[in-house]
């Protein structure tokens, strides 16, 4: 199956603003596997907004606990 994971980075014309959006990642992987983007741009981190996929991780844990 093709890997559908994608990183989309948008650059403001002020030379500072950089916006990173990830697609196809589930849970913490979105920040862990794309951390190199921030590292390359010297920690231009800014505020993070998480999508529903990130929060899905907690849900997985809870499900696991109930079924175990």
């Amino acid at each position: 199956m093709a890997d559908s994971r994608e990183i989309v980075v948008t650059f403001d014309w002020d030379g500072r603003g950089v916006h990173k959006e990830t697609f196809g990642f589930v849970g913490k992987a979105c920040t862990e596997e794309t951390a190199f983007v921030e590292a390359a741009l010297k920690g231009n981190k800014g505020k993070r907004k998480f999508k529903a996929e990130y929060l899905h991780r907690k849900q997985e844990k809870i499900t696991h606990r109930i079924t175990a």
């Binding site: 989309v8 650059f11 030379g15 983007v37 231009n44």
Partner: protein
Amino acid sequence: MSHTLEFETTITNAEALVRALKRMGVPEHLIEVHETAQRLKTYHSEEYKKAHVIVRRDIDRFLSGAHSDIGWERNEDGVFVGHIDEYDYRIGMVCDKEWQQKLYTYCNVETLKIEYERQGMEYTESLDAQKRIVLRAKFKAPVTVNRIKTHTK
């Protein structure tokens, strides 16, 4: 008496800076990259500023009318500081705020492209509805033993 202005940047990658300068239309033959900082040629300033990445003034084309080179010196933290002659800057000959912002935007873009290339990732560059640069990169799934199919009988 003129002097040299210093501009803080967040640039750490000389290659990205050179690529950004080219995107800004600076002719390649005017761009110099040095391991050891070299002196900038100035007319008005008596300061002797040095830089690792230098754009030499060209009386015929780029920086036409300017009196001094422009340069970026790498500081102890590895971050480049821009040096621009105050007179040239004041009369609007080179590198006004808008020019620098555009350059540093291209620097960010090129820095990330270099990182994608280093990791062997495919990417595309486009403009969004607000004319901002967008880099779209695809992840490659790591090759595991389970995914390798052998075709031997």
